[in-house]
Symmetry: D5
Subunit: 189 residues, 10 copies
Amino acid sequence: MTQSIINTKIQPFNATVYHNGDFRDISEQDLLGKWSIVMFYPADFTFVCPTELGDLADHYEQLQKMGVEVYSVSTDTHFTHKAWHDTSETIQKIQFPMIGDPTGRISRNFGVYIEDDGLALRGTFVINPEGEIKVAEIHDLGIGRSASELVRKVQAAQYVAEHDGEVCPAKWQPGEETLSPSLDLVGKI
Amino acid sequence: MTQSIINTKIQPFNATVYHNGDFRDISEQDLLGKWSIVMFYPADFTFVCPTELGDLADHYEQLQKMGVEVYSVSTDTHFTHKAWHDTSETIQKIQFPMIGDPTGRISRNFGVYIEDDGLALRGTFVINPEGEIKVAEIHDLGIGRSASELVRKVQAAQYVAEHDGEVCPAKWQPGEETLSPSLDLVGKI
Amino acid sequence: MTQSIINTKIQPFNATVYHNGDFRDISEQDLLGKWSIVMFYPADFTFVCPTELGDLADHYEQLQKMGVEVYSVSTDTHFTHKAWHDTSETIQKIQFPMIGDPTGRISRNFGVYIEDDGLALRGTFVINPEGEIKVAEIHDLGIGRSASELVRKVQAAQYVAEHDGEVCPAKWQPGEETLSPSLDLVGKI
Amino acid sequence: MTQSIINTKIQPFNATVYHNGDFRDISEQDLLGKWSIVMFYPADFTFVCPTELGDLADHYEQLQKMGVEVYSVSTDTHFTHKAWHDTSETIQKIQFPMIGDPTGRISRNFGVYIEDDGLALRGTFVINPEGEIKVAEIHDLGIGRSASELVRKVQAAQYVAEHDGEVCPAKWQPGEETLSPSLDLVGKI
Amino acid sequence: MTQSIINTKIQPFNATVYHNGDFRDISEQDLLGKWSIVMFYPADFTFVCPTELGDLADHYEQLQKMGVEVYSVSTDTHFTHKAWHDTSETIQKIQFPMIGDPTGRISRNFGVYIEDDGLALRGTFVINPEGEIKVAEIHDLGIGRSASELVRKVQAAQYVAEHDGEVCPAKWQPGEETLSPSLDLVGKI
Amino acid sequence: MTQSIINTKIQPFNATVYHNGDFRDISEQDLLGKWSIVMFYPADFTFVCPTELGDLADHYEQLQKMGVEVYSVSTDTHFTHKAWHDTSETIQKIQFPMIGDPTGRISRNFGVYIEDDGLALRGTFVINPEGEIKVAEIHDLGIGRSASELVRKVQAAQYVAEHDGEVCPAKWQPGEETLSPSLDLVGKI
Amino acid sequence: MTQSIINTKIQPFNATVYHNGDFRDISEQDLLGKWSIVMFYPADFTFVCPTELGDLADHYEQLQKMGVEVYSVSTDTHFTHKAWHDTSETIQKIQFPMIGDPTGRISRNFGVYIEDDGLALRGTFVINPEGEIKVAEIHDLGIGRSASELVRKVQAAQYVAEHDGEVCPAKWQPGEETLSPSLDLVGKI
Amino acid sequence: MTQSIINTKIQPFNATVYHNGDFRDISEQDLLGKWSIVMFYPADFTFVCPTELGDLADHYEQLQKMGVEVYSVSTDTHFTHKAWHDTSETIQKIQFPMIGDPTGRISRNFGVYIEDDGLALRGTFVINPEGEIKVAEIHDLGIGRSASELVRKVQAAQYVAEHDGEVCPAKWQPGEETLSPSLDLVGKI
Amino acid sequence: MTQSIINTKIQPFNATVYHNGDFRDISEQDLLGKWSIVMFYPADFTFVCPTELGDLADHYEQLQKMGVEVYSVSTDTHFTHKAWHDTSETIQKIQFPMIGDPTGRISRNFGVYIEDDGLALRGTFVINPEGEIKVAEIHDLGIGRSASELVRKVQAAQYVAEHDGEVCPAKWQPGEETLSPSLDLVGKI
Amino acid sequence: MTQSIINTKIQPFNATVYHNGDFRDISEQDLLGKWSIVMFYPADFTFVCPTELGDLADHYEQLQKMGVEVYSVSTDTHFTHKAWHDTSETIQKIQFPMIGDPTGRISRNFGVYIEDDGLALRGTFVINPEGEIKVAEIHDLGIGRSASELVRKVQAAQYVAEHDGEVCPAKWQPGEETLSPSLDLVGKI
C-alpha cells in the first residue's frame, strides 16, 4: 500500500443495482457531477451489516439535501440484494441504490476486496463531483461505522471544496469557524 | 490500491521521537504488546494540524486509561518537533511521542506518503497489540478528523478483540448491547 | 481450452456449505472415497436454476442409494444459500449440501467461471471416488439440464469402473447388455 | 481449464470429410449459418463408438428437419473413414459428414484431444449459426452418450435463441411451458 | 535441418503395434540389440503405400535371416492397421510389426512428420544394434522406394560395422571386394 | 530433427566450383530452372569417395539427357578439387561441377555438416526446378551409395512432377505402369 | 560515484522558498543567467548549521555585488524555514532564499542526500550562468565550511570564465597574476 | 551522482608511486591507519597543476606533524612523474608519494575521471584512518585549490573524530571553541 | 580474438599530437588518402621504446618518399610527449607526429590496450589509403621491432595494391619478381 | 579486436597432422614444454603460400637447434596436406608437422579465420614453453612473410625470457648488447 487512494480518480466499472424495486445498470460515470458516498460491507443476510445500513438509511434524507448520493456495495448479486430487501425490515428502509459486485471488481478498485474470502471489508469512501476520492475509512469486519460522523466528514469536504483557501480544523461542524491559512499563522497556532 | 492494509502487520521502521522534552529512538517493535494509534499529518508549523493534534491531546488521558499509546507522525525531523513544541501553545499540550519521519519511510509503510510533496496525508490507524492494523482512516489535506469518534472506534475494536463471537453494530458505544451472530439471525435482521 | 478436464484430479478448495439447517466447512478431500456430482448454477434467487435444483432434489434419494453425494455450487455466500432455502418452496426440497463459492475459486477449478459476470455457467461434473472427473456437461445460461439423464451417466460410469474390460454402448441403461472389447470385434461392429 | 469454451467462437480449421461416398474439403466457415452438432469419438474400428454413431445416425433425419447439421470427428484420416464406412454395417447407416482430423487440430480446438494417446475424448458440442458453442458434453472413453437427450438440448438451445426473454427450465421438452424471467419472480420460485 | 540425424541415438517412444493378429506394446528399447529398419509411410488405405509395403514384405524373410527386424509406421492407430490387414490382400502379406503412431511422436523423432497434414513422409531408417541411425532416406509423398536397394544398404552397413577398417565403395554387393583405407591410397584412387 | 528438409526450398549460398579445367562462381540461383542432384562426400583424396564419384560420373551422360545437372560437394577448396582432378584417374572422369565448401555453409544448409570434423556426411539430394528438395538420402561415412538407384529416384520424381494425379509405386522403372489414385482404390490395394 | 558532477547541468526541480518573509515557488530555471551558490545543510534547528549559515549571511552583500545569488537548502519544509527564521537570531540575518526540499529531490540531484536519514550532507556547489556546476565541496556532517574560501573559489571561477586562455594557480586572490598557458611553459614550471 | 562518496570506504586499487627517487608499489591498504589526503590533478607537465602541487609541498611538513600522509595522483605513469620531478624546480620540492594512475582506476574510484579526456579533475579528498572519505572538494580544470584551507579542514575533521559529541562551527581554527550539541541548544542558535 | 583486425576499417578517434614543436588535433580522417604506419609503444621515458622509435625515425625519410605517414602512439598525454622530446636525444630525432592516447581509446581500437596496466603493447599496423589495416604485428613488451622489415612489408603491401593480380612471395624485395596467380600454377609450385 | 592475444594461453584444440609420411593426432598439449611457431596460410595448392612455406622449411634446421618446433596450419584436411606434399617440390622440403584444420577451430582460436571464405589469414605466432603467445604477425592474403625476421623475433623472445631484467632494443641480433632497465635510465635514452 505504497500509493494512497486519496485524490485518485475512481476507476471504471459496470454493475447492476437494485433500487426502489427495480434493476438498473450503473457505471463509474453515474457518480460524476455530484458528491457520492460508496459504502462497502461484507455480505447480505449477515449481522453487523444491517445495523450499519439502517444507520445510513436513517441519514439518507439529510445527505440527499446536501446533494450527496449514497451507494451500498457487497459482492452479492442484485438478485440477492432484492431478496434481502424483500425479507428484512431493516433493509426495507433503504432507499439508495444497492450495487451488486459478484466479480469483486469494484471492491478491488477501492482496495477493500479480501481475496481469500471473496468479500469486501467495511470501507466507506467520500467522492467529489470530479470523481476524486477525498475521504477513505476502512474497518476490520467486526467494527461498525457511524453515519453521523460520516455526514460531518462530507460537510467538511464540501465546505473545503467550496471555500478556496479555508481549511476545517478538527471535529468541525457546519456553522463553526474555519481557518484561513496565512503566512502570519505559521508557527502561531 | 488493490490490497487493503487492514489486517496486515505493520512494517519495520526506525525513527527518533520527541517526547516529554527528550529525544528517543523508536521502532515498530515498540508498538507491540498494547493498542496503538498512529496519526499522520502533513507538516509542523501549519494550520489544521495543530487543532487536530490538540483535539487528540485532549483525549490522551482517556486513551492512556484504555491502554492505548498515541504516536503523531510527520515528515519533519525530531528537531523541528521540539522547536514546534517549544513555541506553540497548542502543541505544548501534547504528552505523547511525536515521531520524526524525514525519509518518509513510515509514511510509505502506511500508504499515506505524497511522493510529489514529501508530506503525509491525514491518516489515522488503530493497531492491535499483535501489530495488526484494524482501522484505517485517510482524509485529503483540508479535512480535519474527530478524536472522539476515534476513541469510539478503538473501544469497538477492543471490545470485539476481547469478546470472541460478538460484533459491534453501527455507532456502538461502550455499555450498549452488541450482537452475537448465530445461524438463526441470518436474514432476520 | 486445449487440455480437457476429463480424467484430471479435482483441484484443492476450501468453502462453507449450507446443509440441513447448518453451516459446515468443506474441502476437496470430502469428495474422495465415494462418487460425487458437482452441479454449478449461476445465482440464487434466479429463474431456471430452481427448477434444475428441484429436479435434482427429486432424484437425490435414488442417487444416495447409488452411493453418490450431490453438491450444488453458486458464487453466492452460504448466508444467501440459507436465506434462499428459508424462503423458496422449491429449494426447501434440497437435502444435499449447497456450497458457497463467493471467491469463484471452485468455479474456476472446473472451468465454468464467467470472469465478466462473477457467476458460474450451468456445469455438471461426475467425479469418481479417486477424485477424477469422468463426465462433464456445460450449458449456456438459458438451457436447462436433465437429472434423469445425469443418473444414467452416473450408472454407466459406475458400471464401467466396476466391470473392468466392458464398455457401455450408447444410451445404455442398467440391466442392458454391455460390450467386452476384443480383437475380433475390431472392424466388425 | 480456467476459461470455459461455452459462448466462445469456434476456431479456424481445415480438414477433409468423407461424405456420401466422396471426399470434400471443409473449414469452420462451413458451420456458420445453421445449427451444428460436432461429435468427437476416439477412433475408427473400435467398440463403443459405432453404437454411439449408429444412435446418432438414427436421429439424423429428425435433426435435419430441425435445421441441424451433424459432423462426426476422429483423429483418423478420411481414407480410414471411407474404409470403415465400406466395411461396417452400423457405420454404413451414417449419412452425415465424417471429418478426418489426423493433426488433432480440431480436437485441440474443442479441448478434447488426449496428448498422450493422439485420440479424442467423447465430446459433443452444440453450435449456433453464429459459430458460438452453446452446449458442451464430454465423457471419459468408456461412457456412451444418448442421442435423444442431445436432441432435447438442441431443441432447448434453439427455443432460447428464438424466444428472447424466455428460459428453459430443467428437462424441458418442446411444447412444454417455459419461464419468462421477471423481477417479481426473484426469490419466488 | 542444421544437425544431421545420422549417428544420433533413436529417441524414446511408446506405441502399440499390430503384429500377427495381435496388439502389443513397443518402445525404443525393443529396437536395441539387433539391426532394425523403420519404414514410415503416409497413411493406411492409400495408394503407393501398399506397393511399397508389399515390396518390403517380399524381402522380409531375407532381412530376417540377416538378423534385421522391420517396423512399418504411419500415424494411423493399431485398430486401423488391423482393419487394413484384414481387408487388403497386399497388406495381408506383411508379417512384421505395424506401429500405430497417432500422436506423431515417433514420426517427429525421425524428422518425417508433416505438421500441416498429421502424416509421415516416406522415410526409411537403418538402425544398428546400439540404436544409432546409420542410413536415412526420405522421399516426397509420390516417390516410391526400392526394398532391394534397402537390403543392399543394410548389408553394407552390417559389413562396415563388423569389419573394422574396411569401407564399402559405391554400389557394393556382399561378396565383392571392399577397401581397407591406408595412407598409401591417399590420392591414389 | 523435428522439421524435415523435404519440400523446403534450398537456402542461399555462394561458392566456387572447379569445372572442366576452370574455376567459376556459383549460387543457389544456378540450380533453379532444371532438376539437380547435389551429392556430398567427406573429403578429397580419401577412399570410398572416389568410387562413389566415379559411379556417378559413369551415369552423368544419362542424367544430362534427363535434363539433370549434377554437383558434387565437399568442404575442400576448389584448389584442392582441381589438384585431385589433376592427379586421380577416377576423378578425371568427372565432367560435372565440383563445389568447394570450405566454410561448410552449403553442408549446413542441407543438414549434413559434422561440426566436430568439419566434413560432410554422404548425403544426396534431388532438387526440382523450383529449388524444392524432393528426395534426401544420407549415409554414415563408411556406407557407399548407388548411382543407378539414384537415377531411378530422379525418374520417379520427374514422372510424378509431370503427370499430375499419378503416383509411382515401389521400385518403379520408367515404362512400367503407375497408379492414378481414385476413391475406388481406397482400401482396395 | 563513477561520473563526476562537475560540468554537468543542474537537473530540473520544483520547490518553495522562504525569502524575506514570503513564500515563493522556484525551479532550476531561476538559477540560469547568473552565478549561483547552492548550499546544503542537514536540518533546521540544529547546531553547526546556524554558524555556517550565519557566516554565509555575513558574506552575502559581497557575493551580491559579484553578481552571485545564494540558496540554502535542507530537507525541511518552507514552513519550518520560516519558523526557524522567526525564532533564531543567527538565522534572522539571512537575506537569501531558503529552499524547502522535503522530498529530497534537489539533494538527490546534487548527490548529497543521505537515504538512511532523509537529510542532506554539507555540500556547497558553485554554478555558472549556464547552469553548469564548476565547484563542488562536500563535508561529513560534523565539519564546518568557510564562507571566505567559498568567495575566493567563486572569484577564481568567474575570472577563468571571463578570461579565456588564463588559468588561476593555487590560492589565487583577485588582483594577483594568473597564468596564460602556452606551449613554452610545458615542463618549465 | 545520486549517492554521495562521503563516508564510503575507499575502493581497492594497485598502483606504482614515484617517491624520493624510487618506484614503489602501493594499494588502498597503505592508506589505512592514519589520515590521508589524496589530491588529483589533470596531467604532468601542465600549468596550474605545479603551483597547486608546490603549495601543497609547502604545507607537507605541517601535515606530517598532524599525522597526515599526502598523495598526489594523475593518470600519467610513474615514469613520467619521475621525469617531471627531475626537470621541474617546483615539482622537485615534492617529498610525498606521486601515484601513477594510467588505467584511471583510482580516478574512477573517486569519481573524478573525465572519460572523454582520460584525465582527472582537480579533486581533493580527506580520508580518516578507517579509510572513510570525510571531505571531498572537486574543481573544474581551471580553478586552483588552497592548501591552507585544506589544512584547516583536516584539523576540523581530526578534532571532530577525536572529541566525540563536539562539532566544529563554520571557519573553525584549532584553539577556537567548538559546540557540544545538547537538547537545550535546539532552536536556540 | 575470434575476428581478425586485418581488412577492417580503422575506427573513429580524436586525439592531440605533438609534432614539430606544436600541438595539433587529429582524427582517423587524417589517415585516409595515403598509406600510414601506426606504431604503439608502452610509455614515454622508458627503455626499449626509445631505440625502436629512433630506429623508425632513421627510416622516416625513406617512408616519406614512399608516400607513407608515420604515427607513434602511447597512452601518455601530448604534454608528456613534448617533455620527452625536449629532454631525450633519441626522441629529438623524431619528425613524425606523436599521438597522445590517455583514454586508451586508439589503443583499444587496435586491440593493443593492456587493461590491467593502462599501457599499449608493441603493435605496428600498416594501413592503406582507404583506411583498411593490411598488416598487423604485435610483440610482448620486451621484444623490439625492426624498422627495415617494416619498410619491406609496406613495399609489398603497396606493390600488391598497385599491381592487381600479382602477389608477393615470401621475403620479397622491390625489384624482385612477383607471382601472377593463374590456374596452371595450382599445385605446380 | 578489443583484447589482444599477446600473453594469453593458447586455447584447446584437437587435430590431425601430416608429418614425415604419416598421420598423427595433435592437441594444444603437444605445444607445451618448448618454444613453438604456429604459421597459418590460406590454402594448399595455392600461390604465395608455397614460397612462404619453402622459406620457413629452409630455416627449420636453425629453428630446431634453437629448440623451436614449427607447425603450419591451413583449413585443408590432412589428406590434402599429404597429397600436396606428394606432388609439390617446394612442399616436399617441409619436415615439420602440417596441421589440418577443416573445422577452422584452431584458426578461430588465433583470430585469423575469415568467416566468409572458410580460410585462414597469413598469421604467424611465437609461443613460449608455457603456451603463452609472445609475438603475433598477421598479413592480408597477398603479402608474404620473412622467415629470417621471424627467427630474429624468436631469438629476442627467448633472450628476454631467459635473462630476467634485460630487454631487447630495436632490430637486436644475438650477440649484440641488450638493455637492463634501471631507474637512472628513465628519461635518459
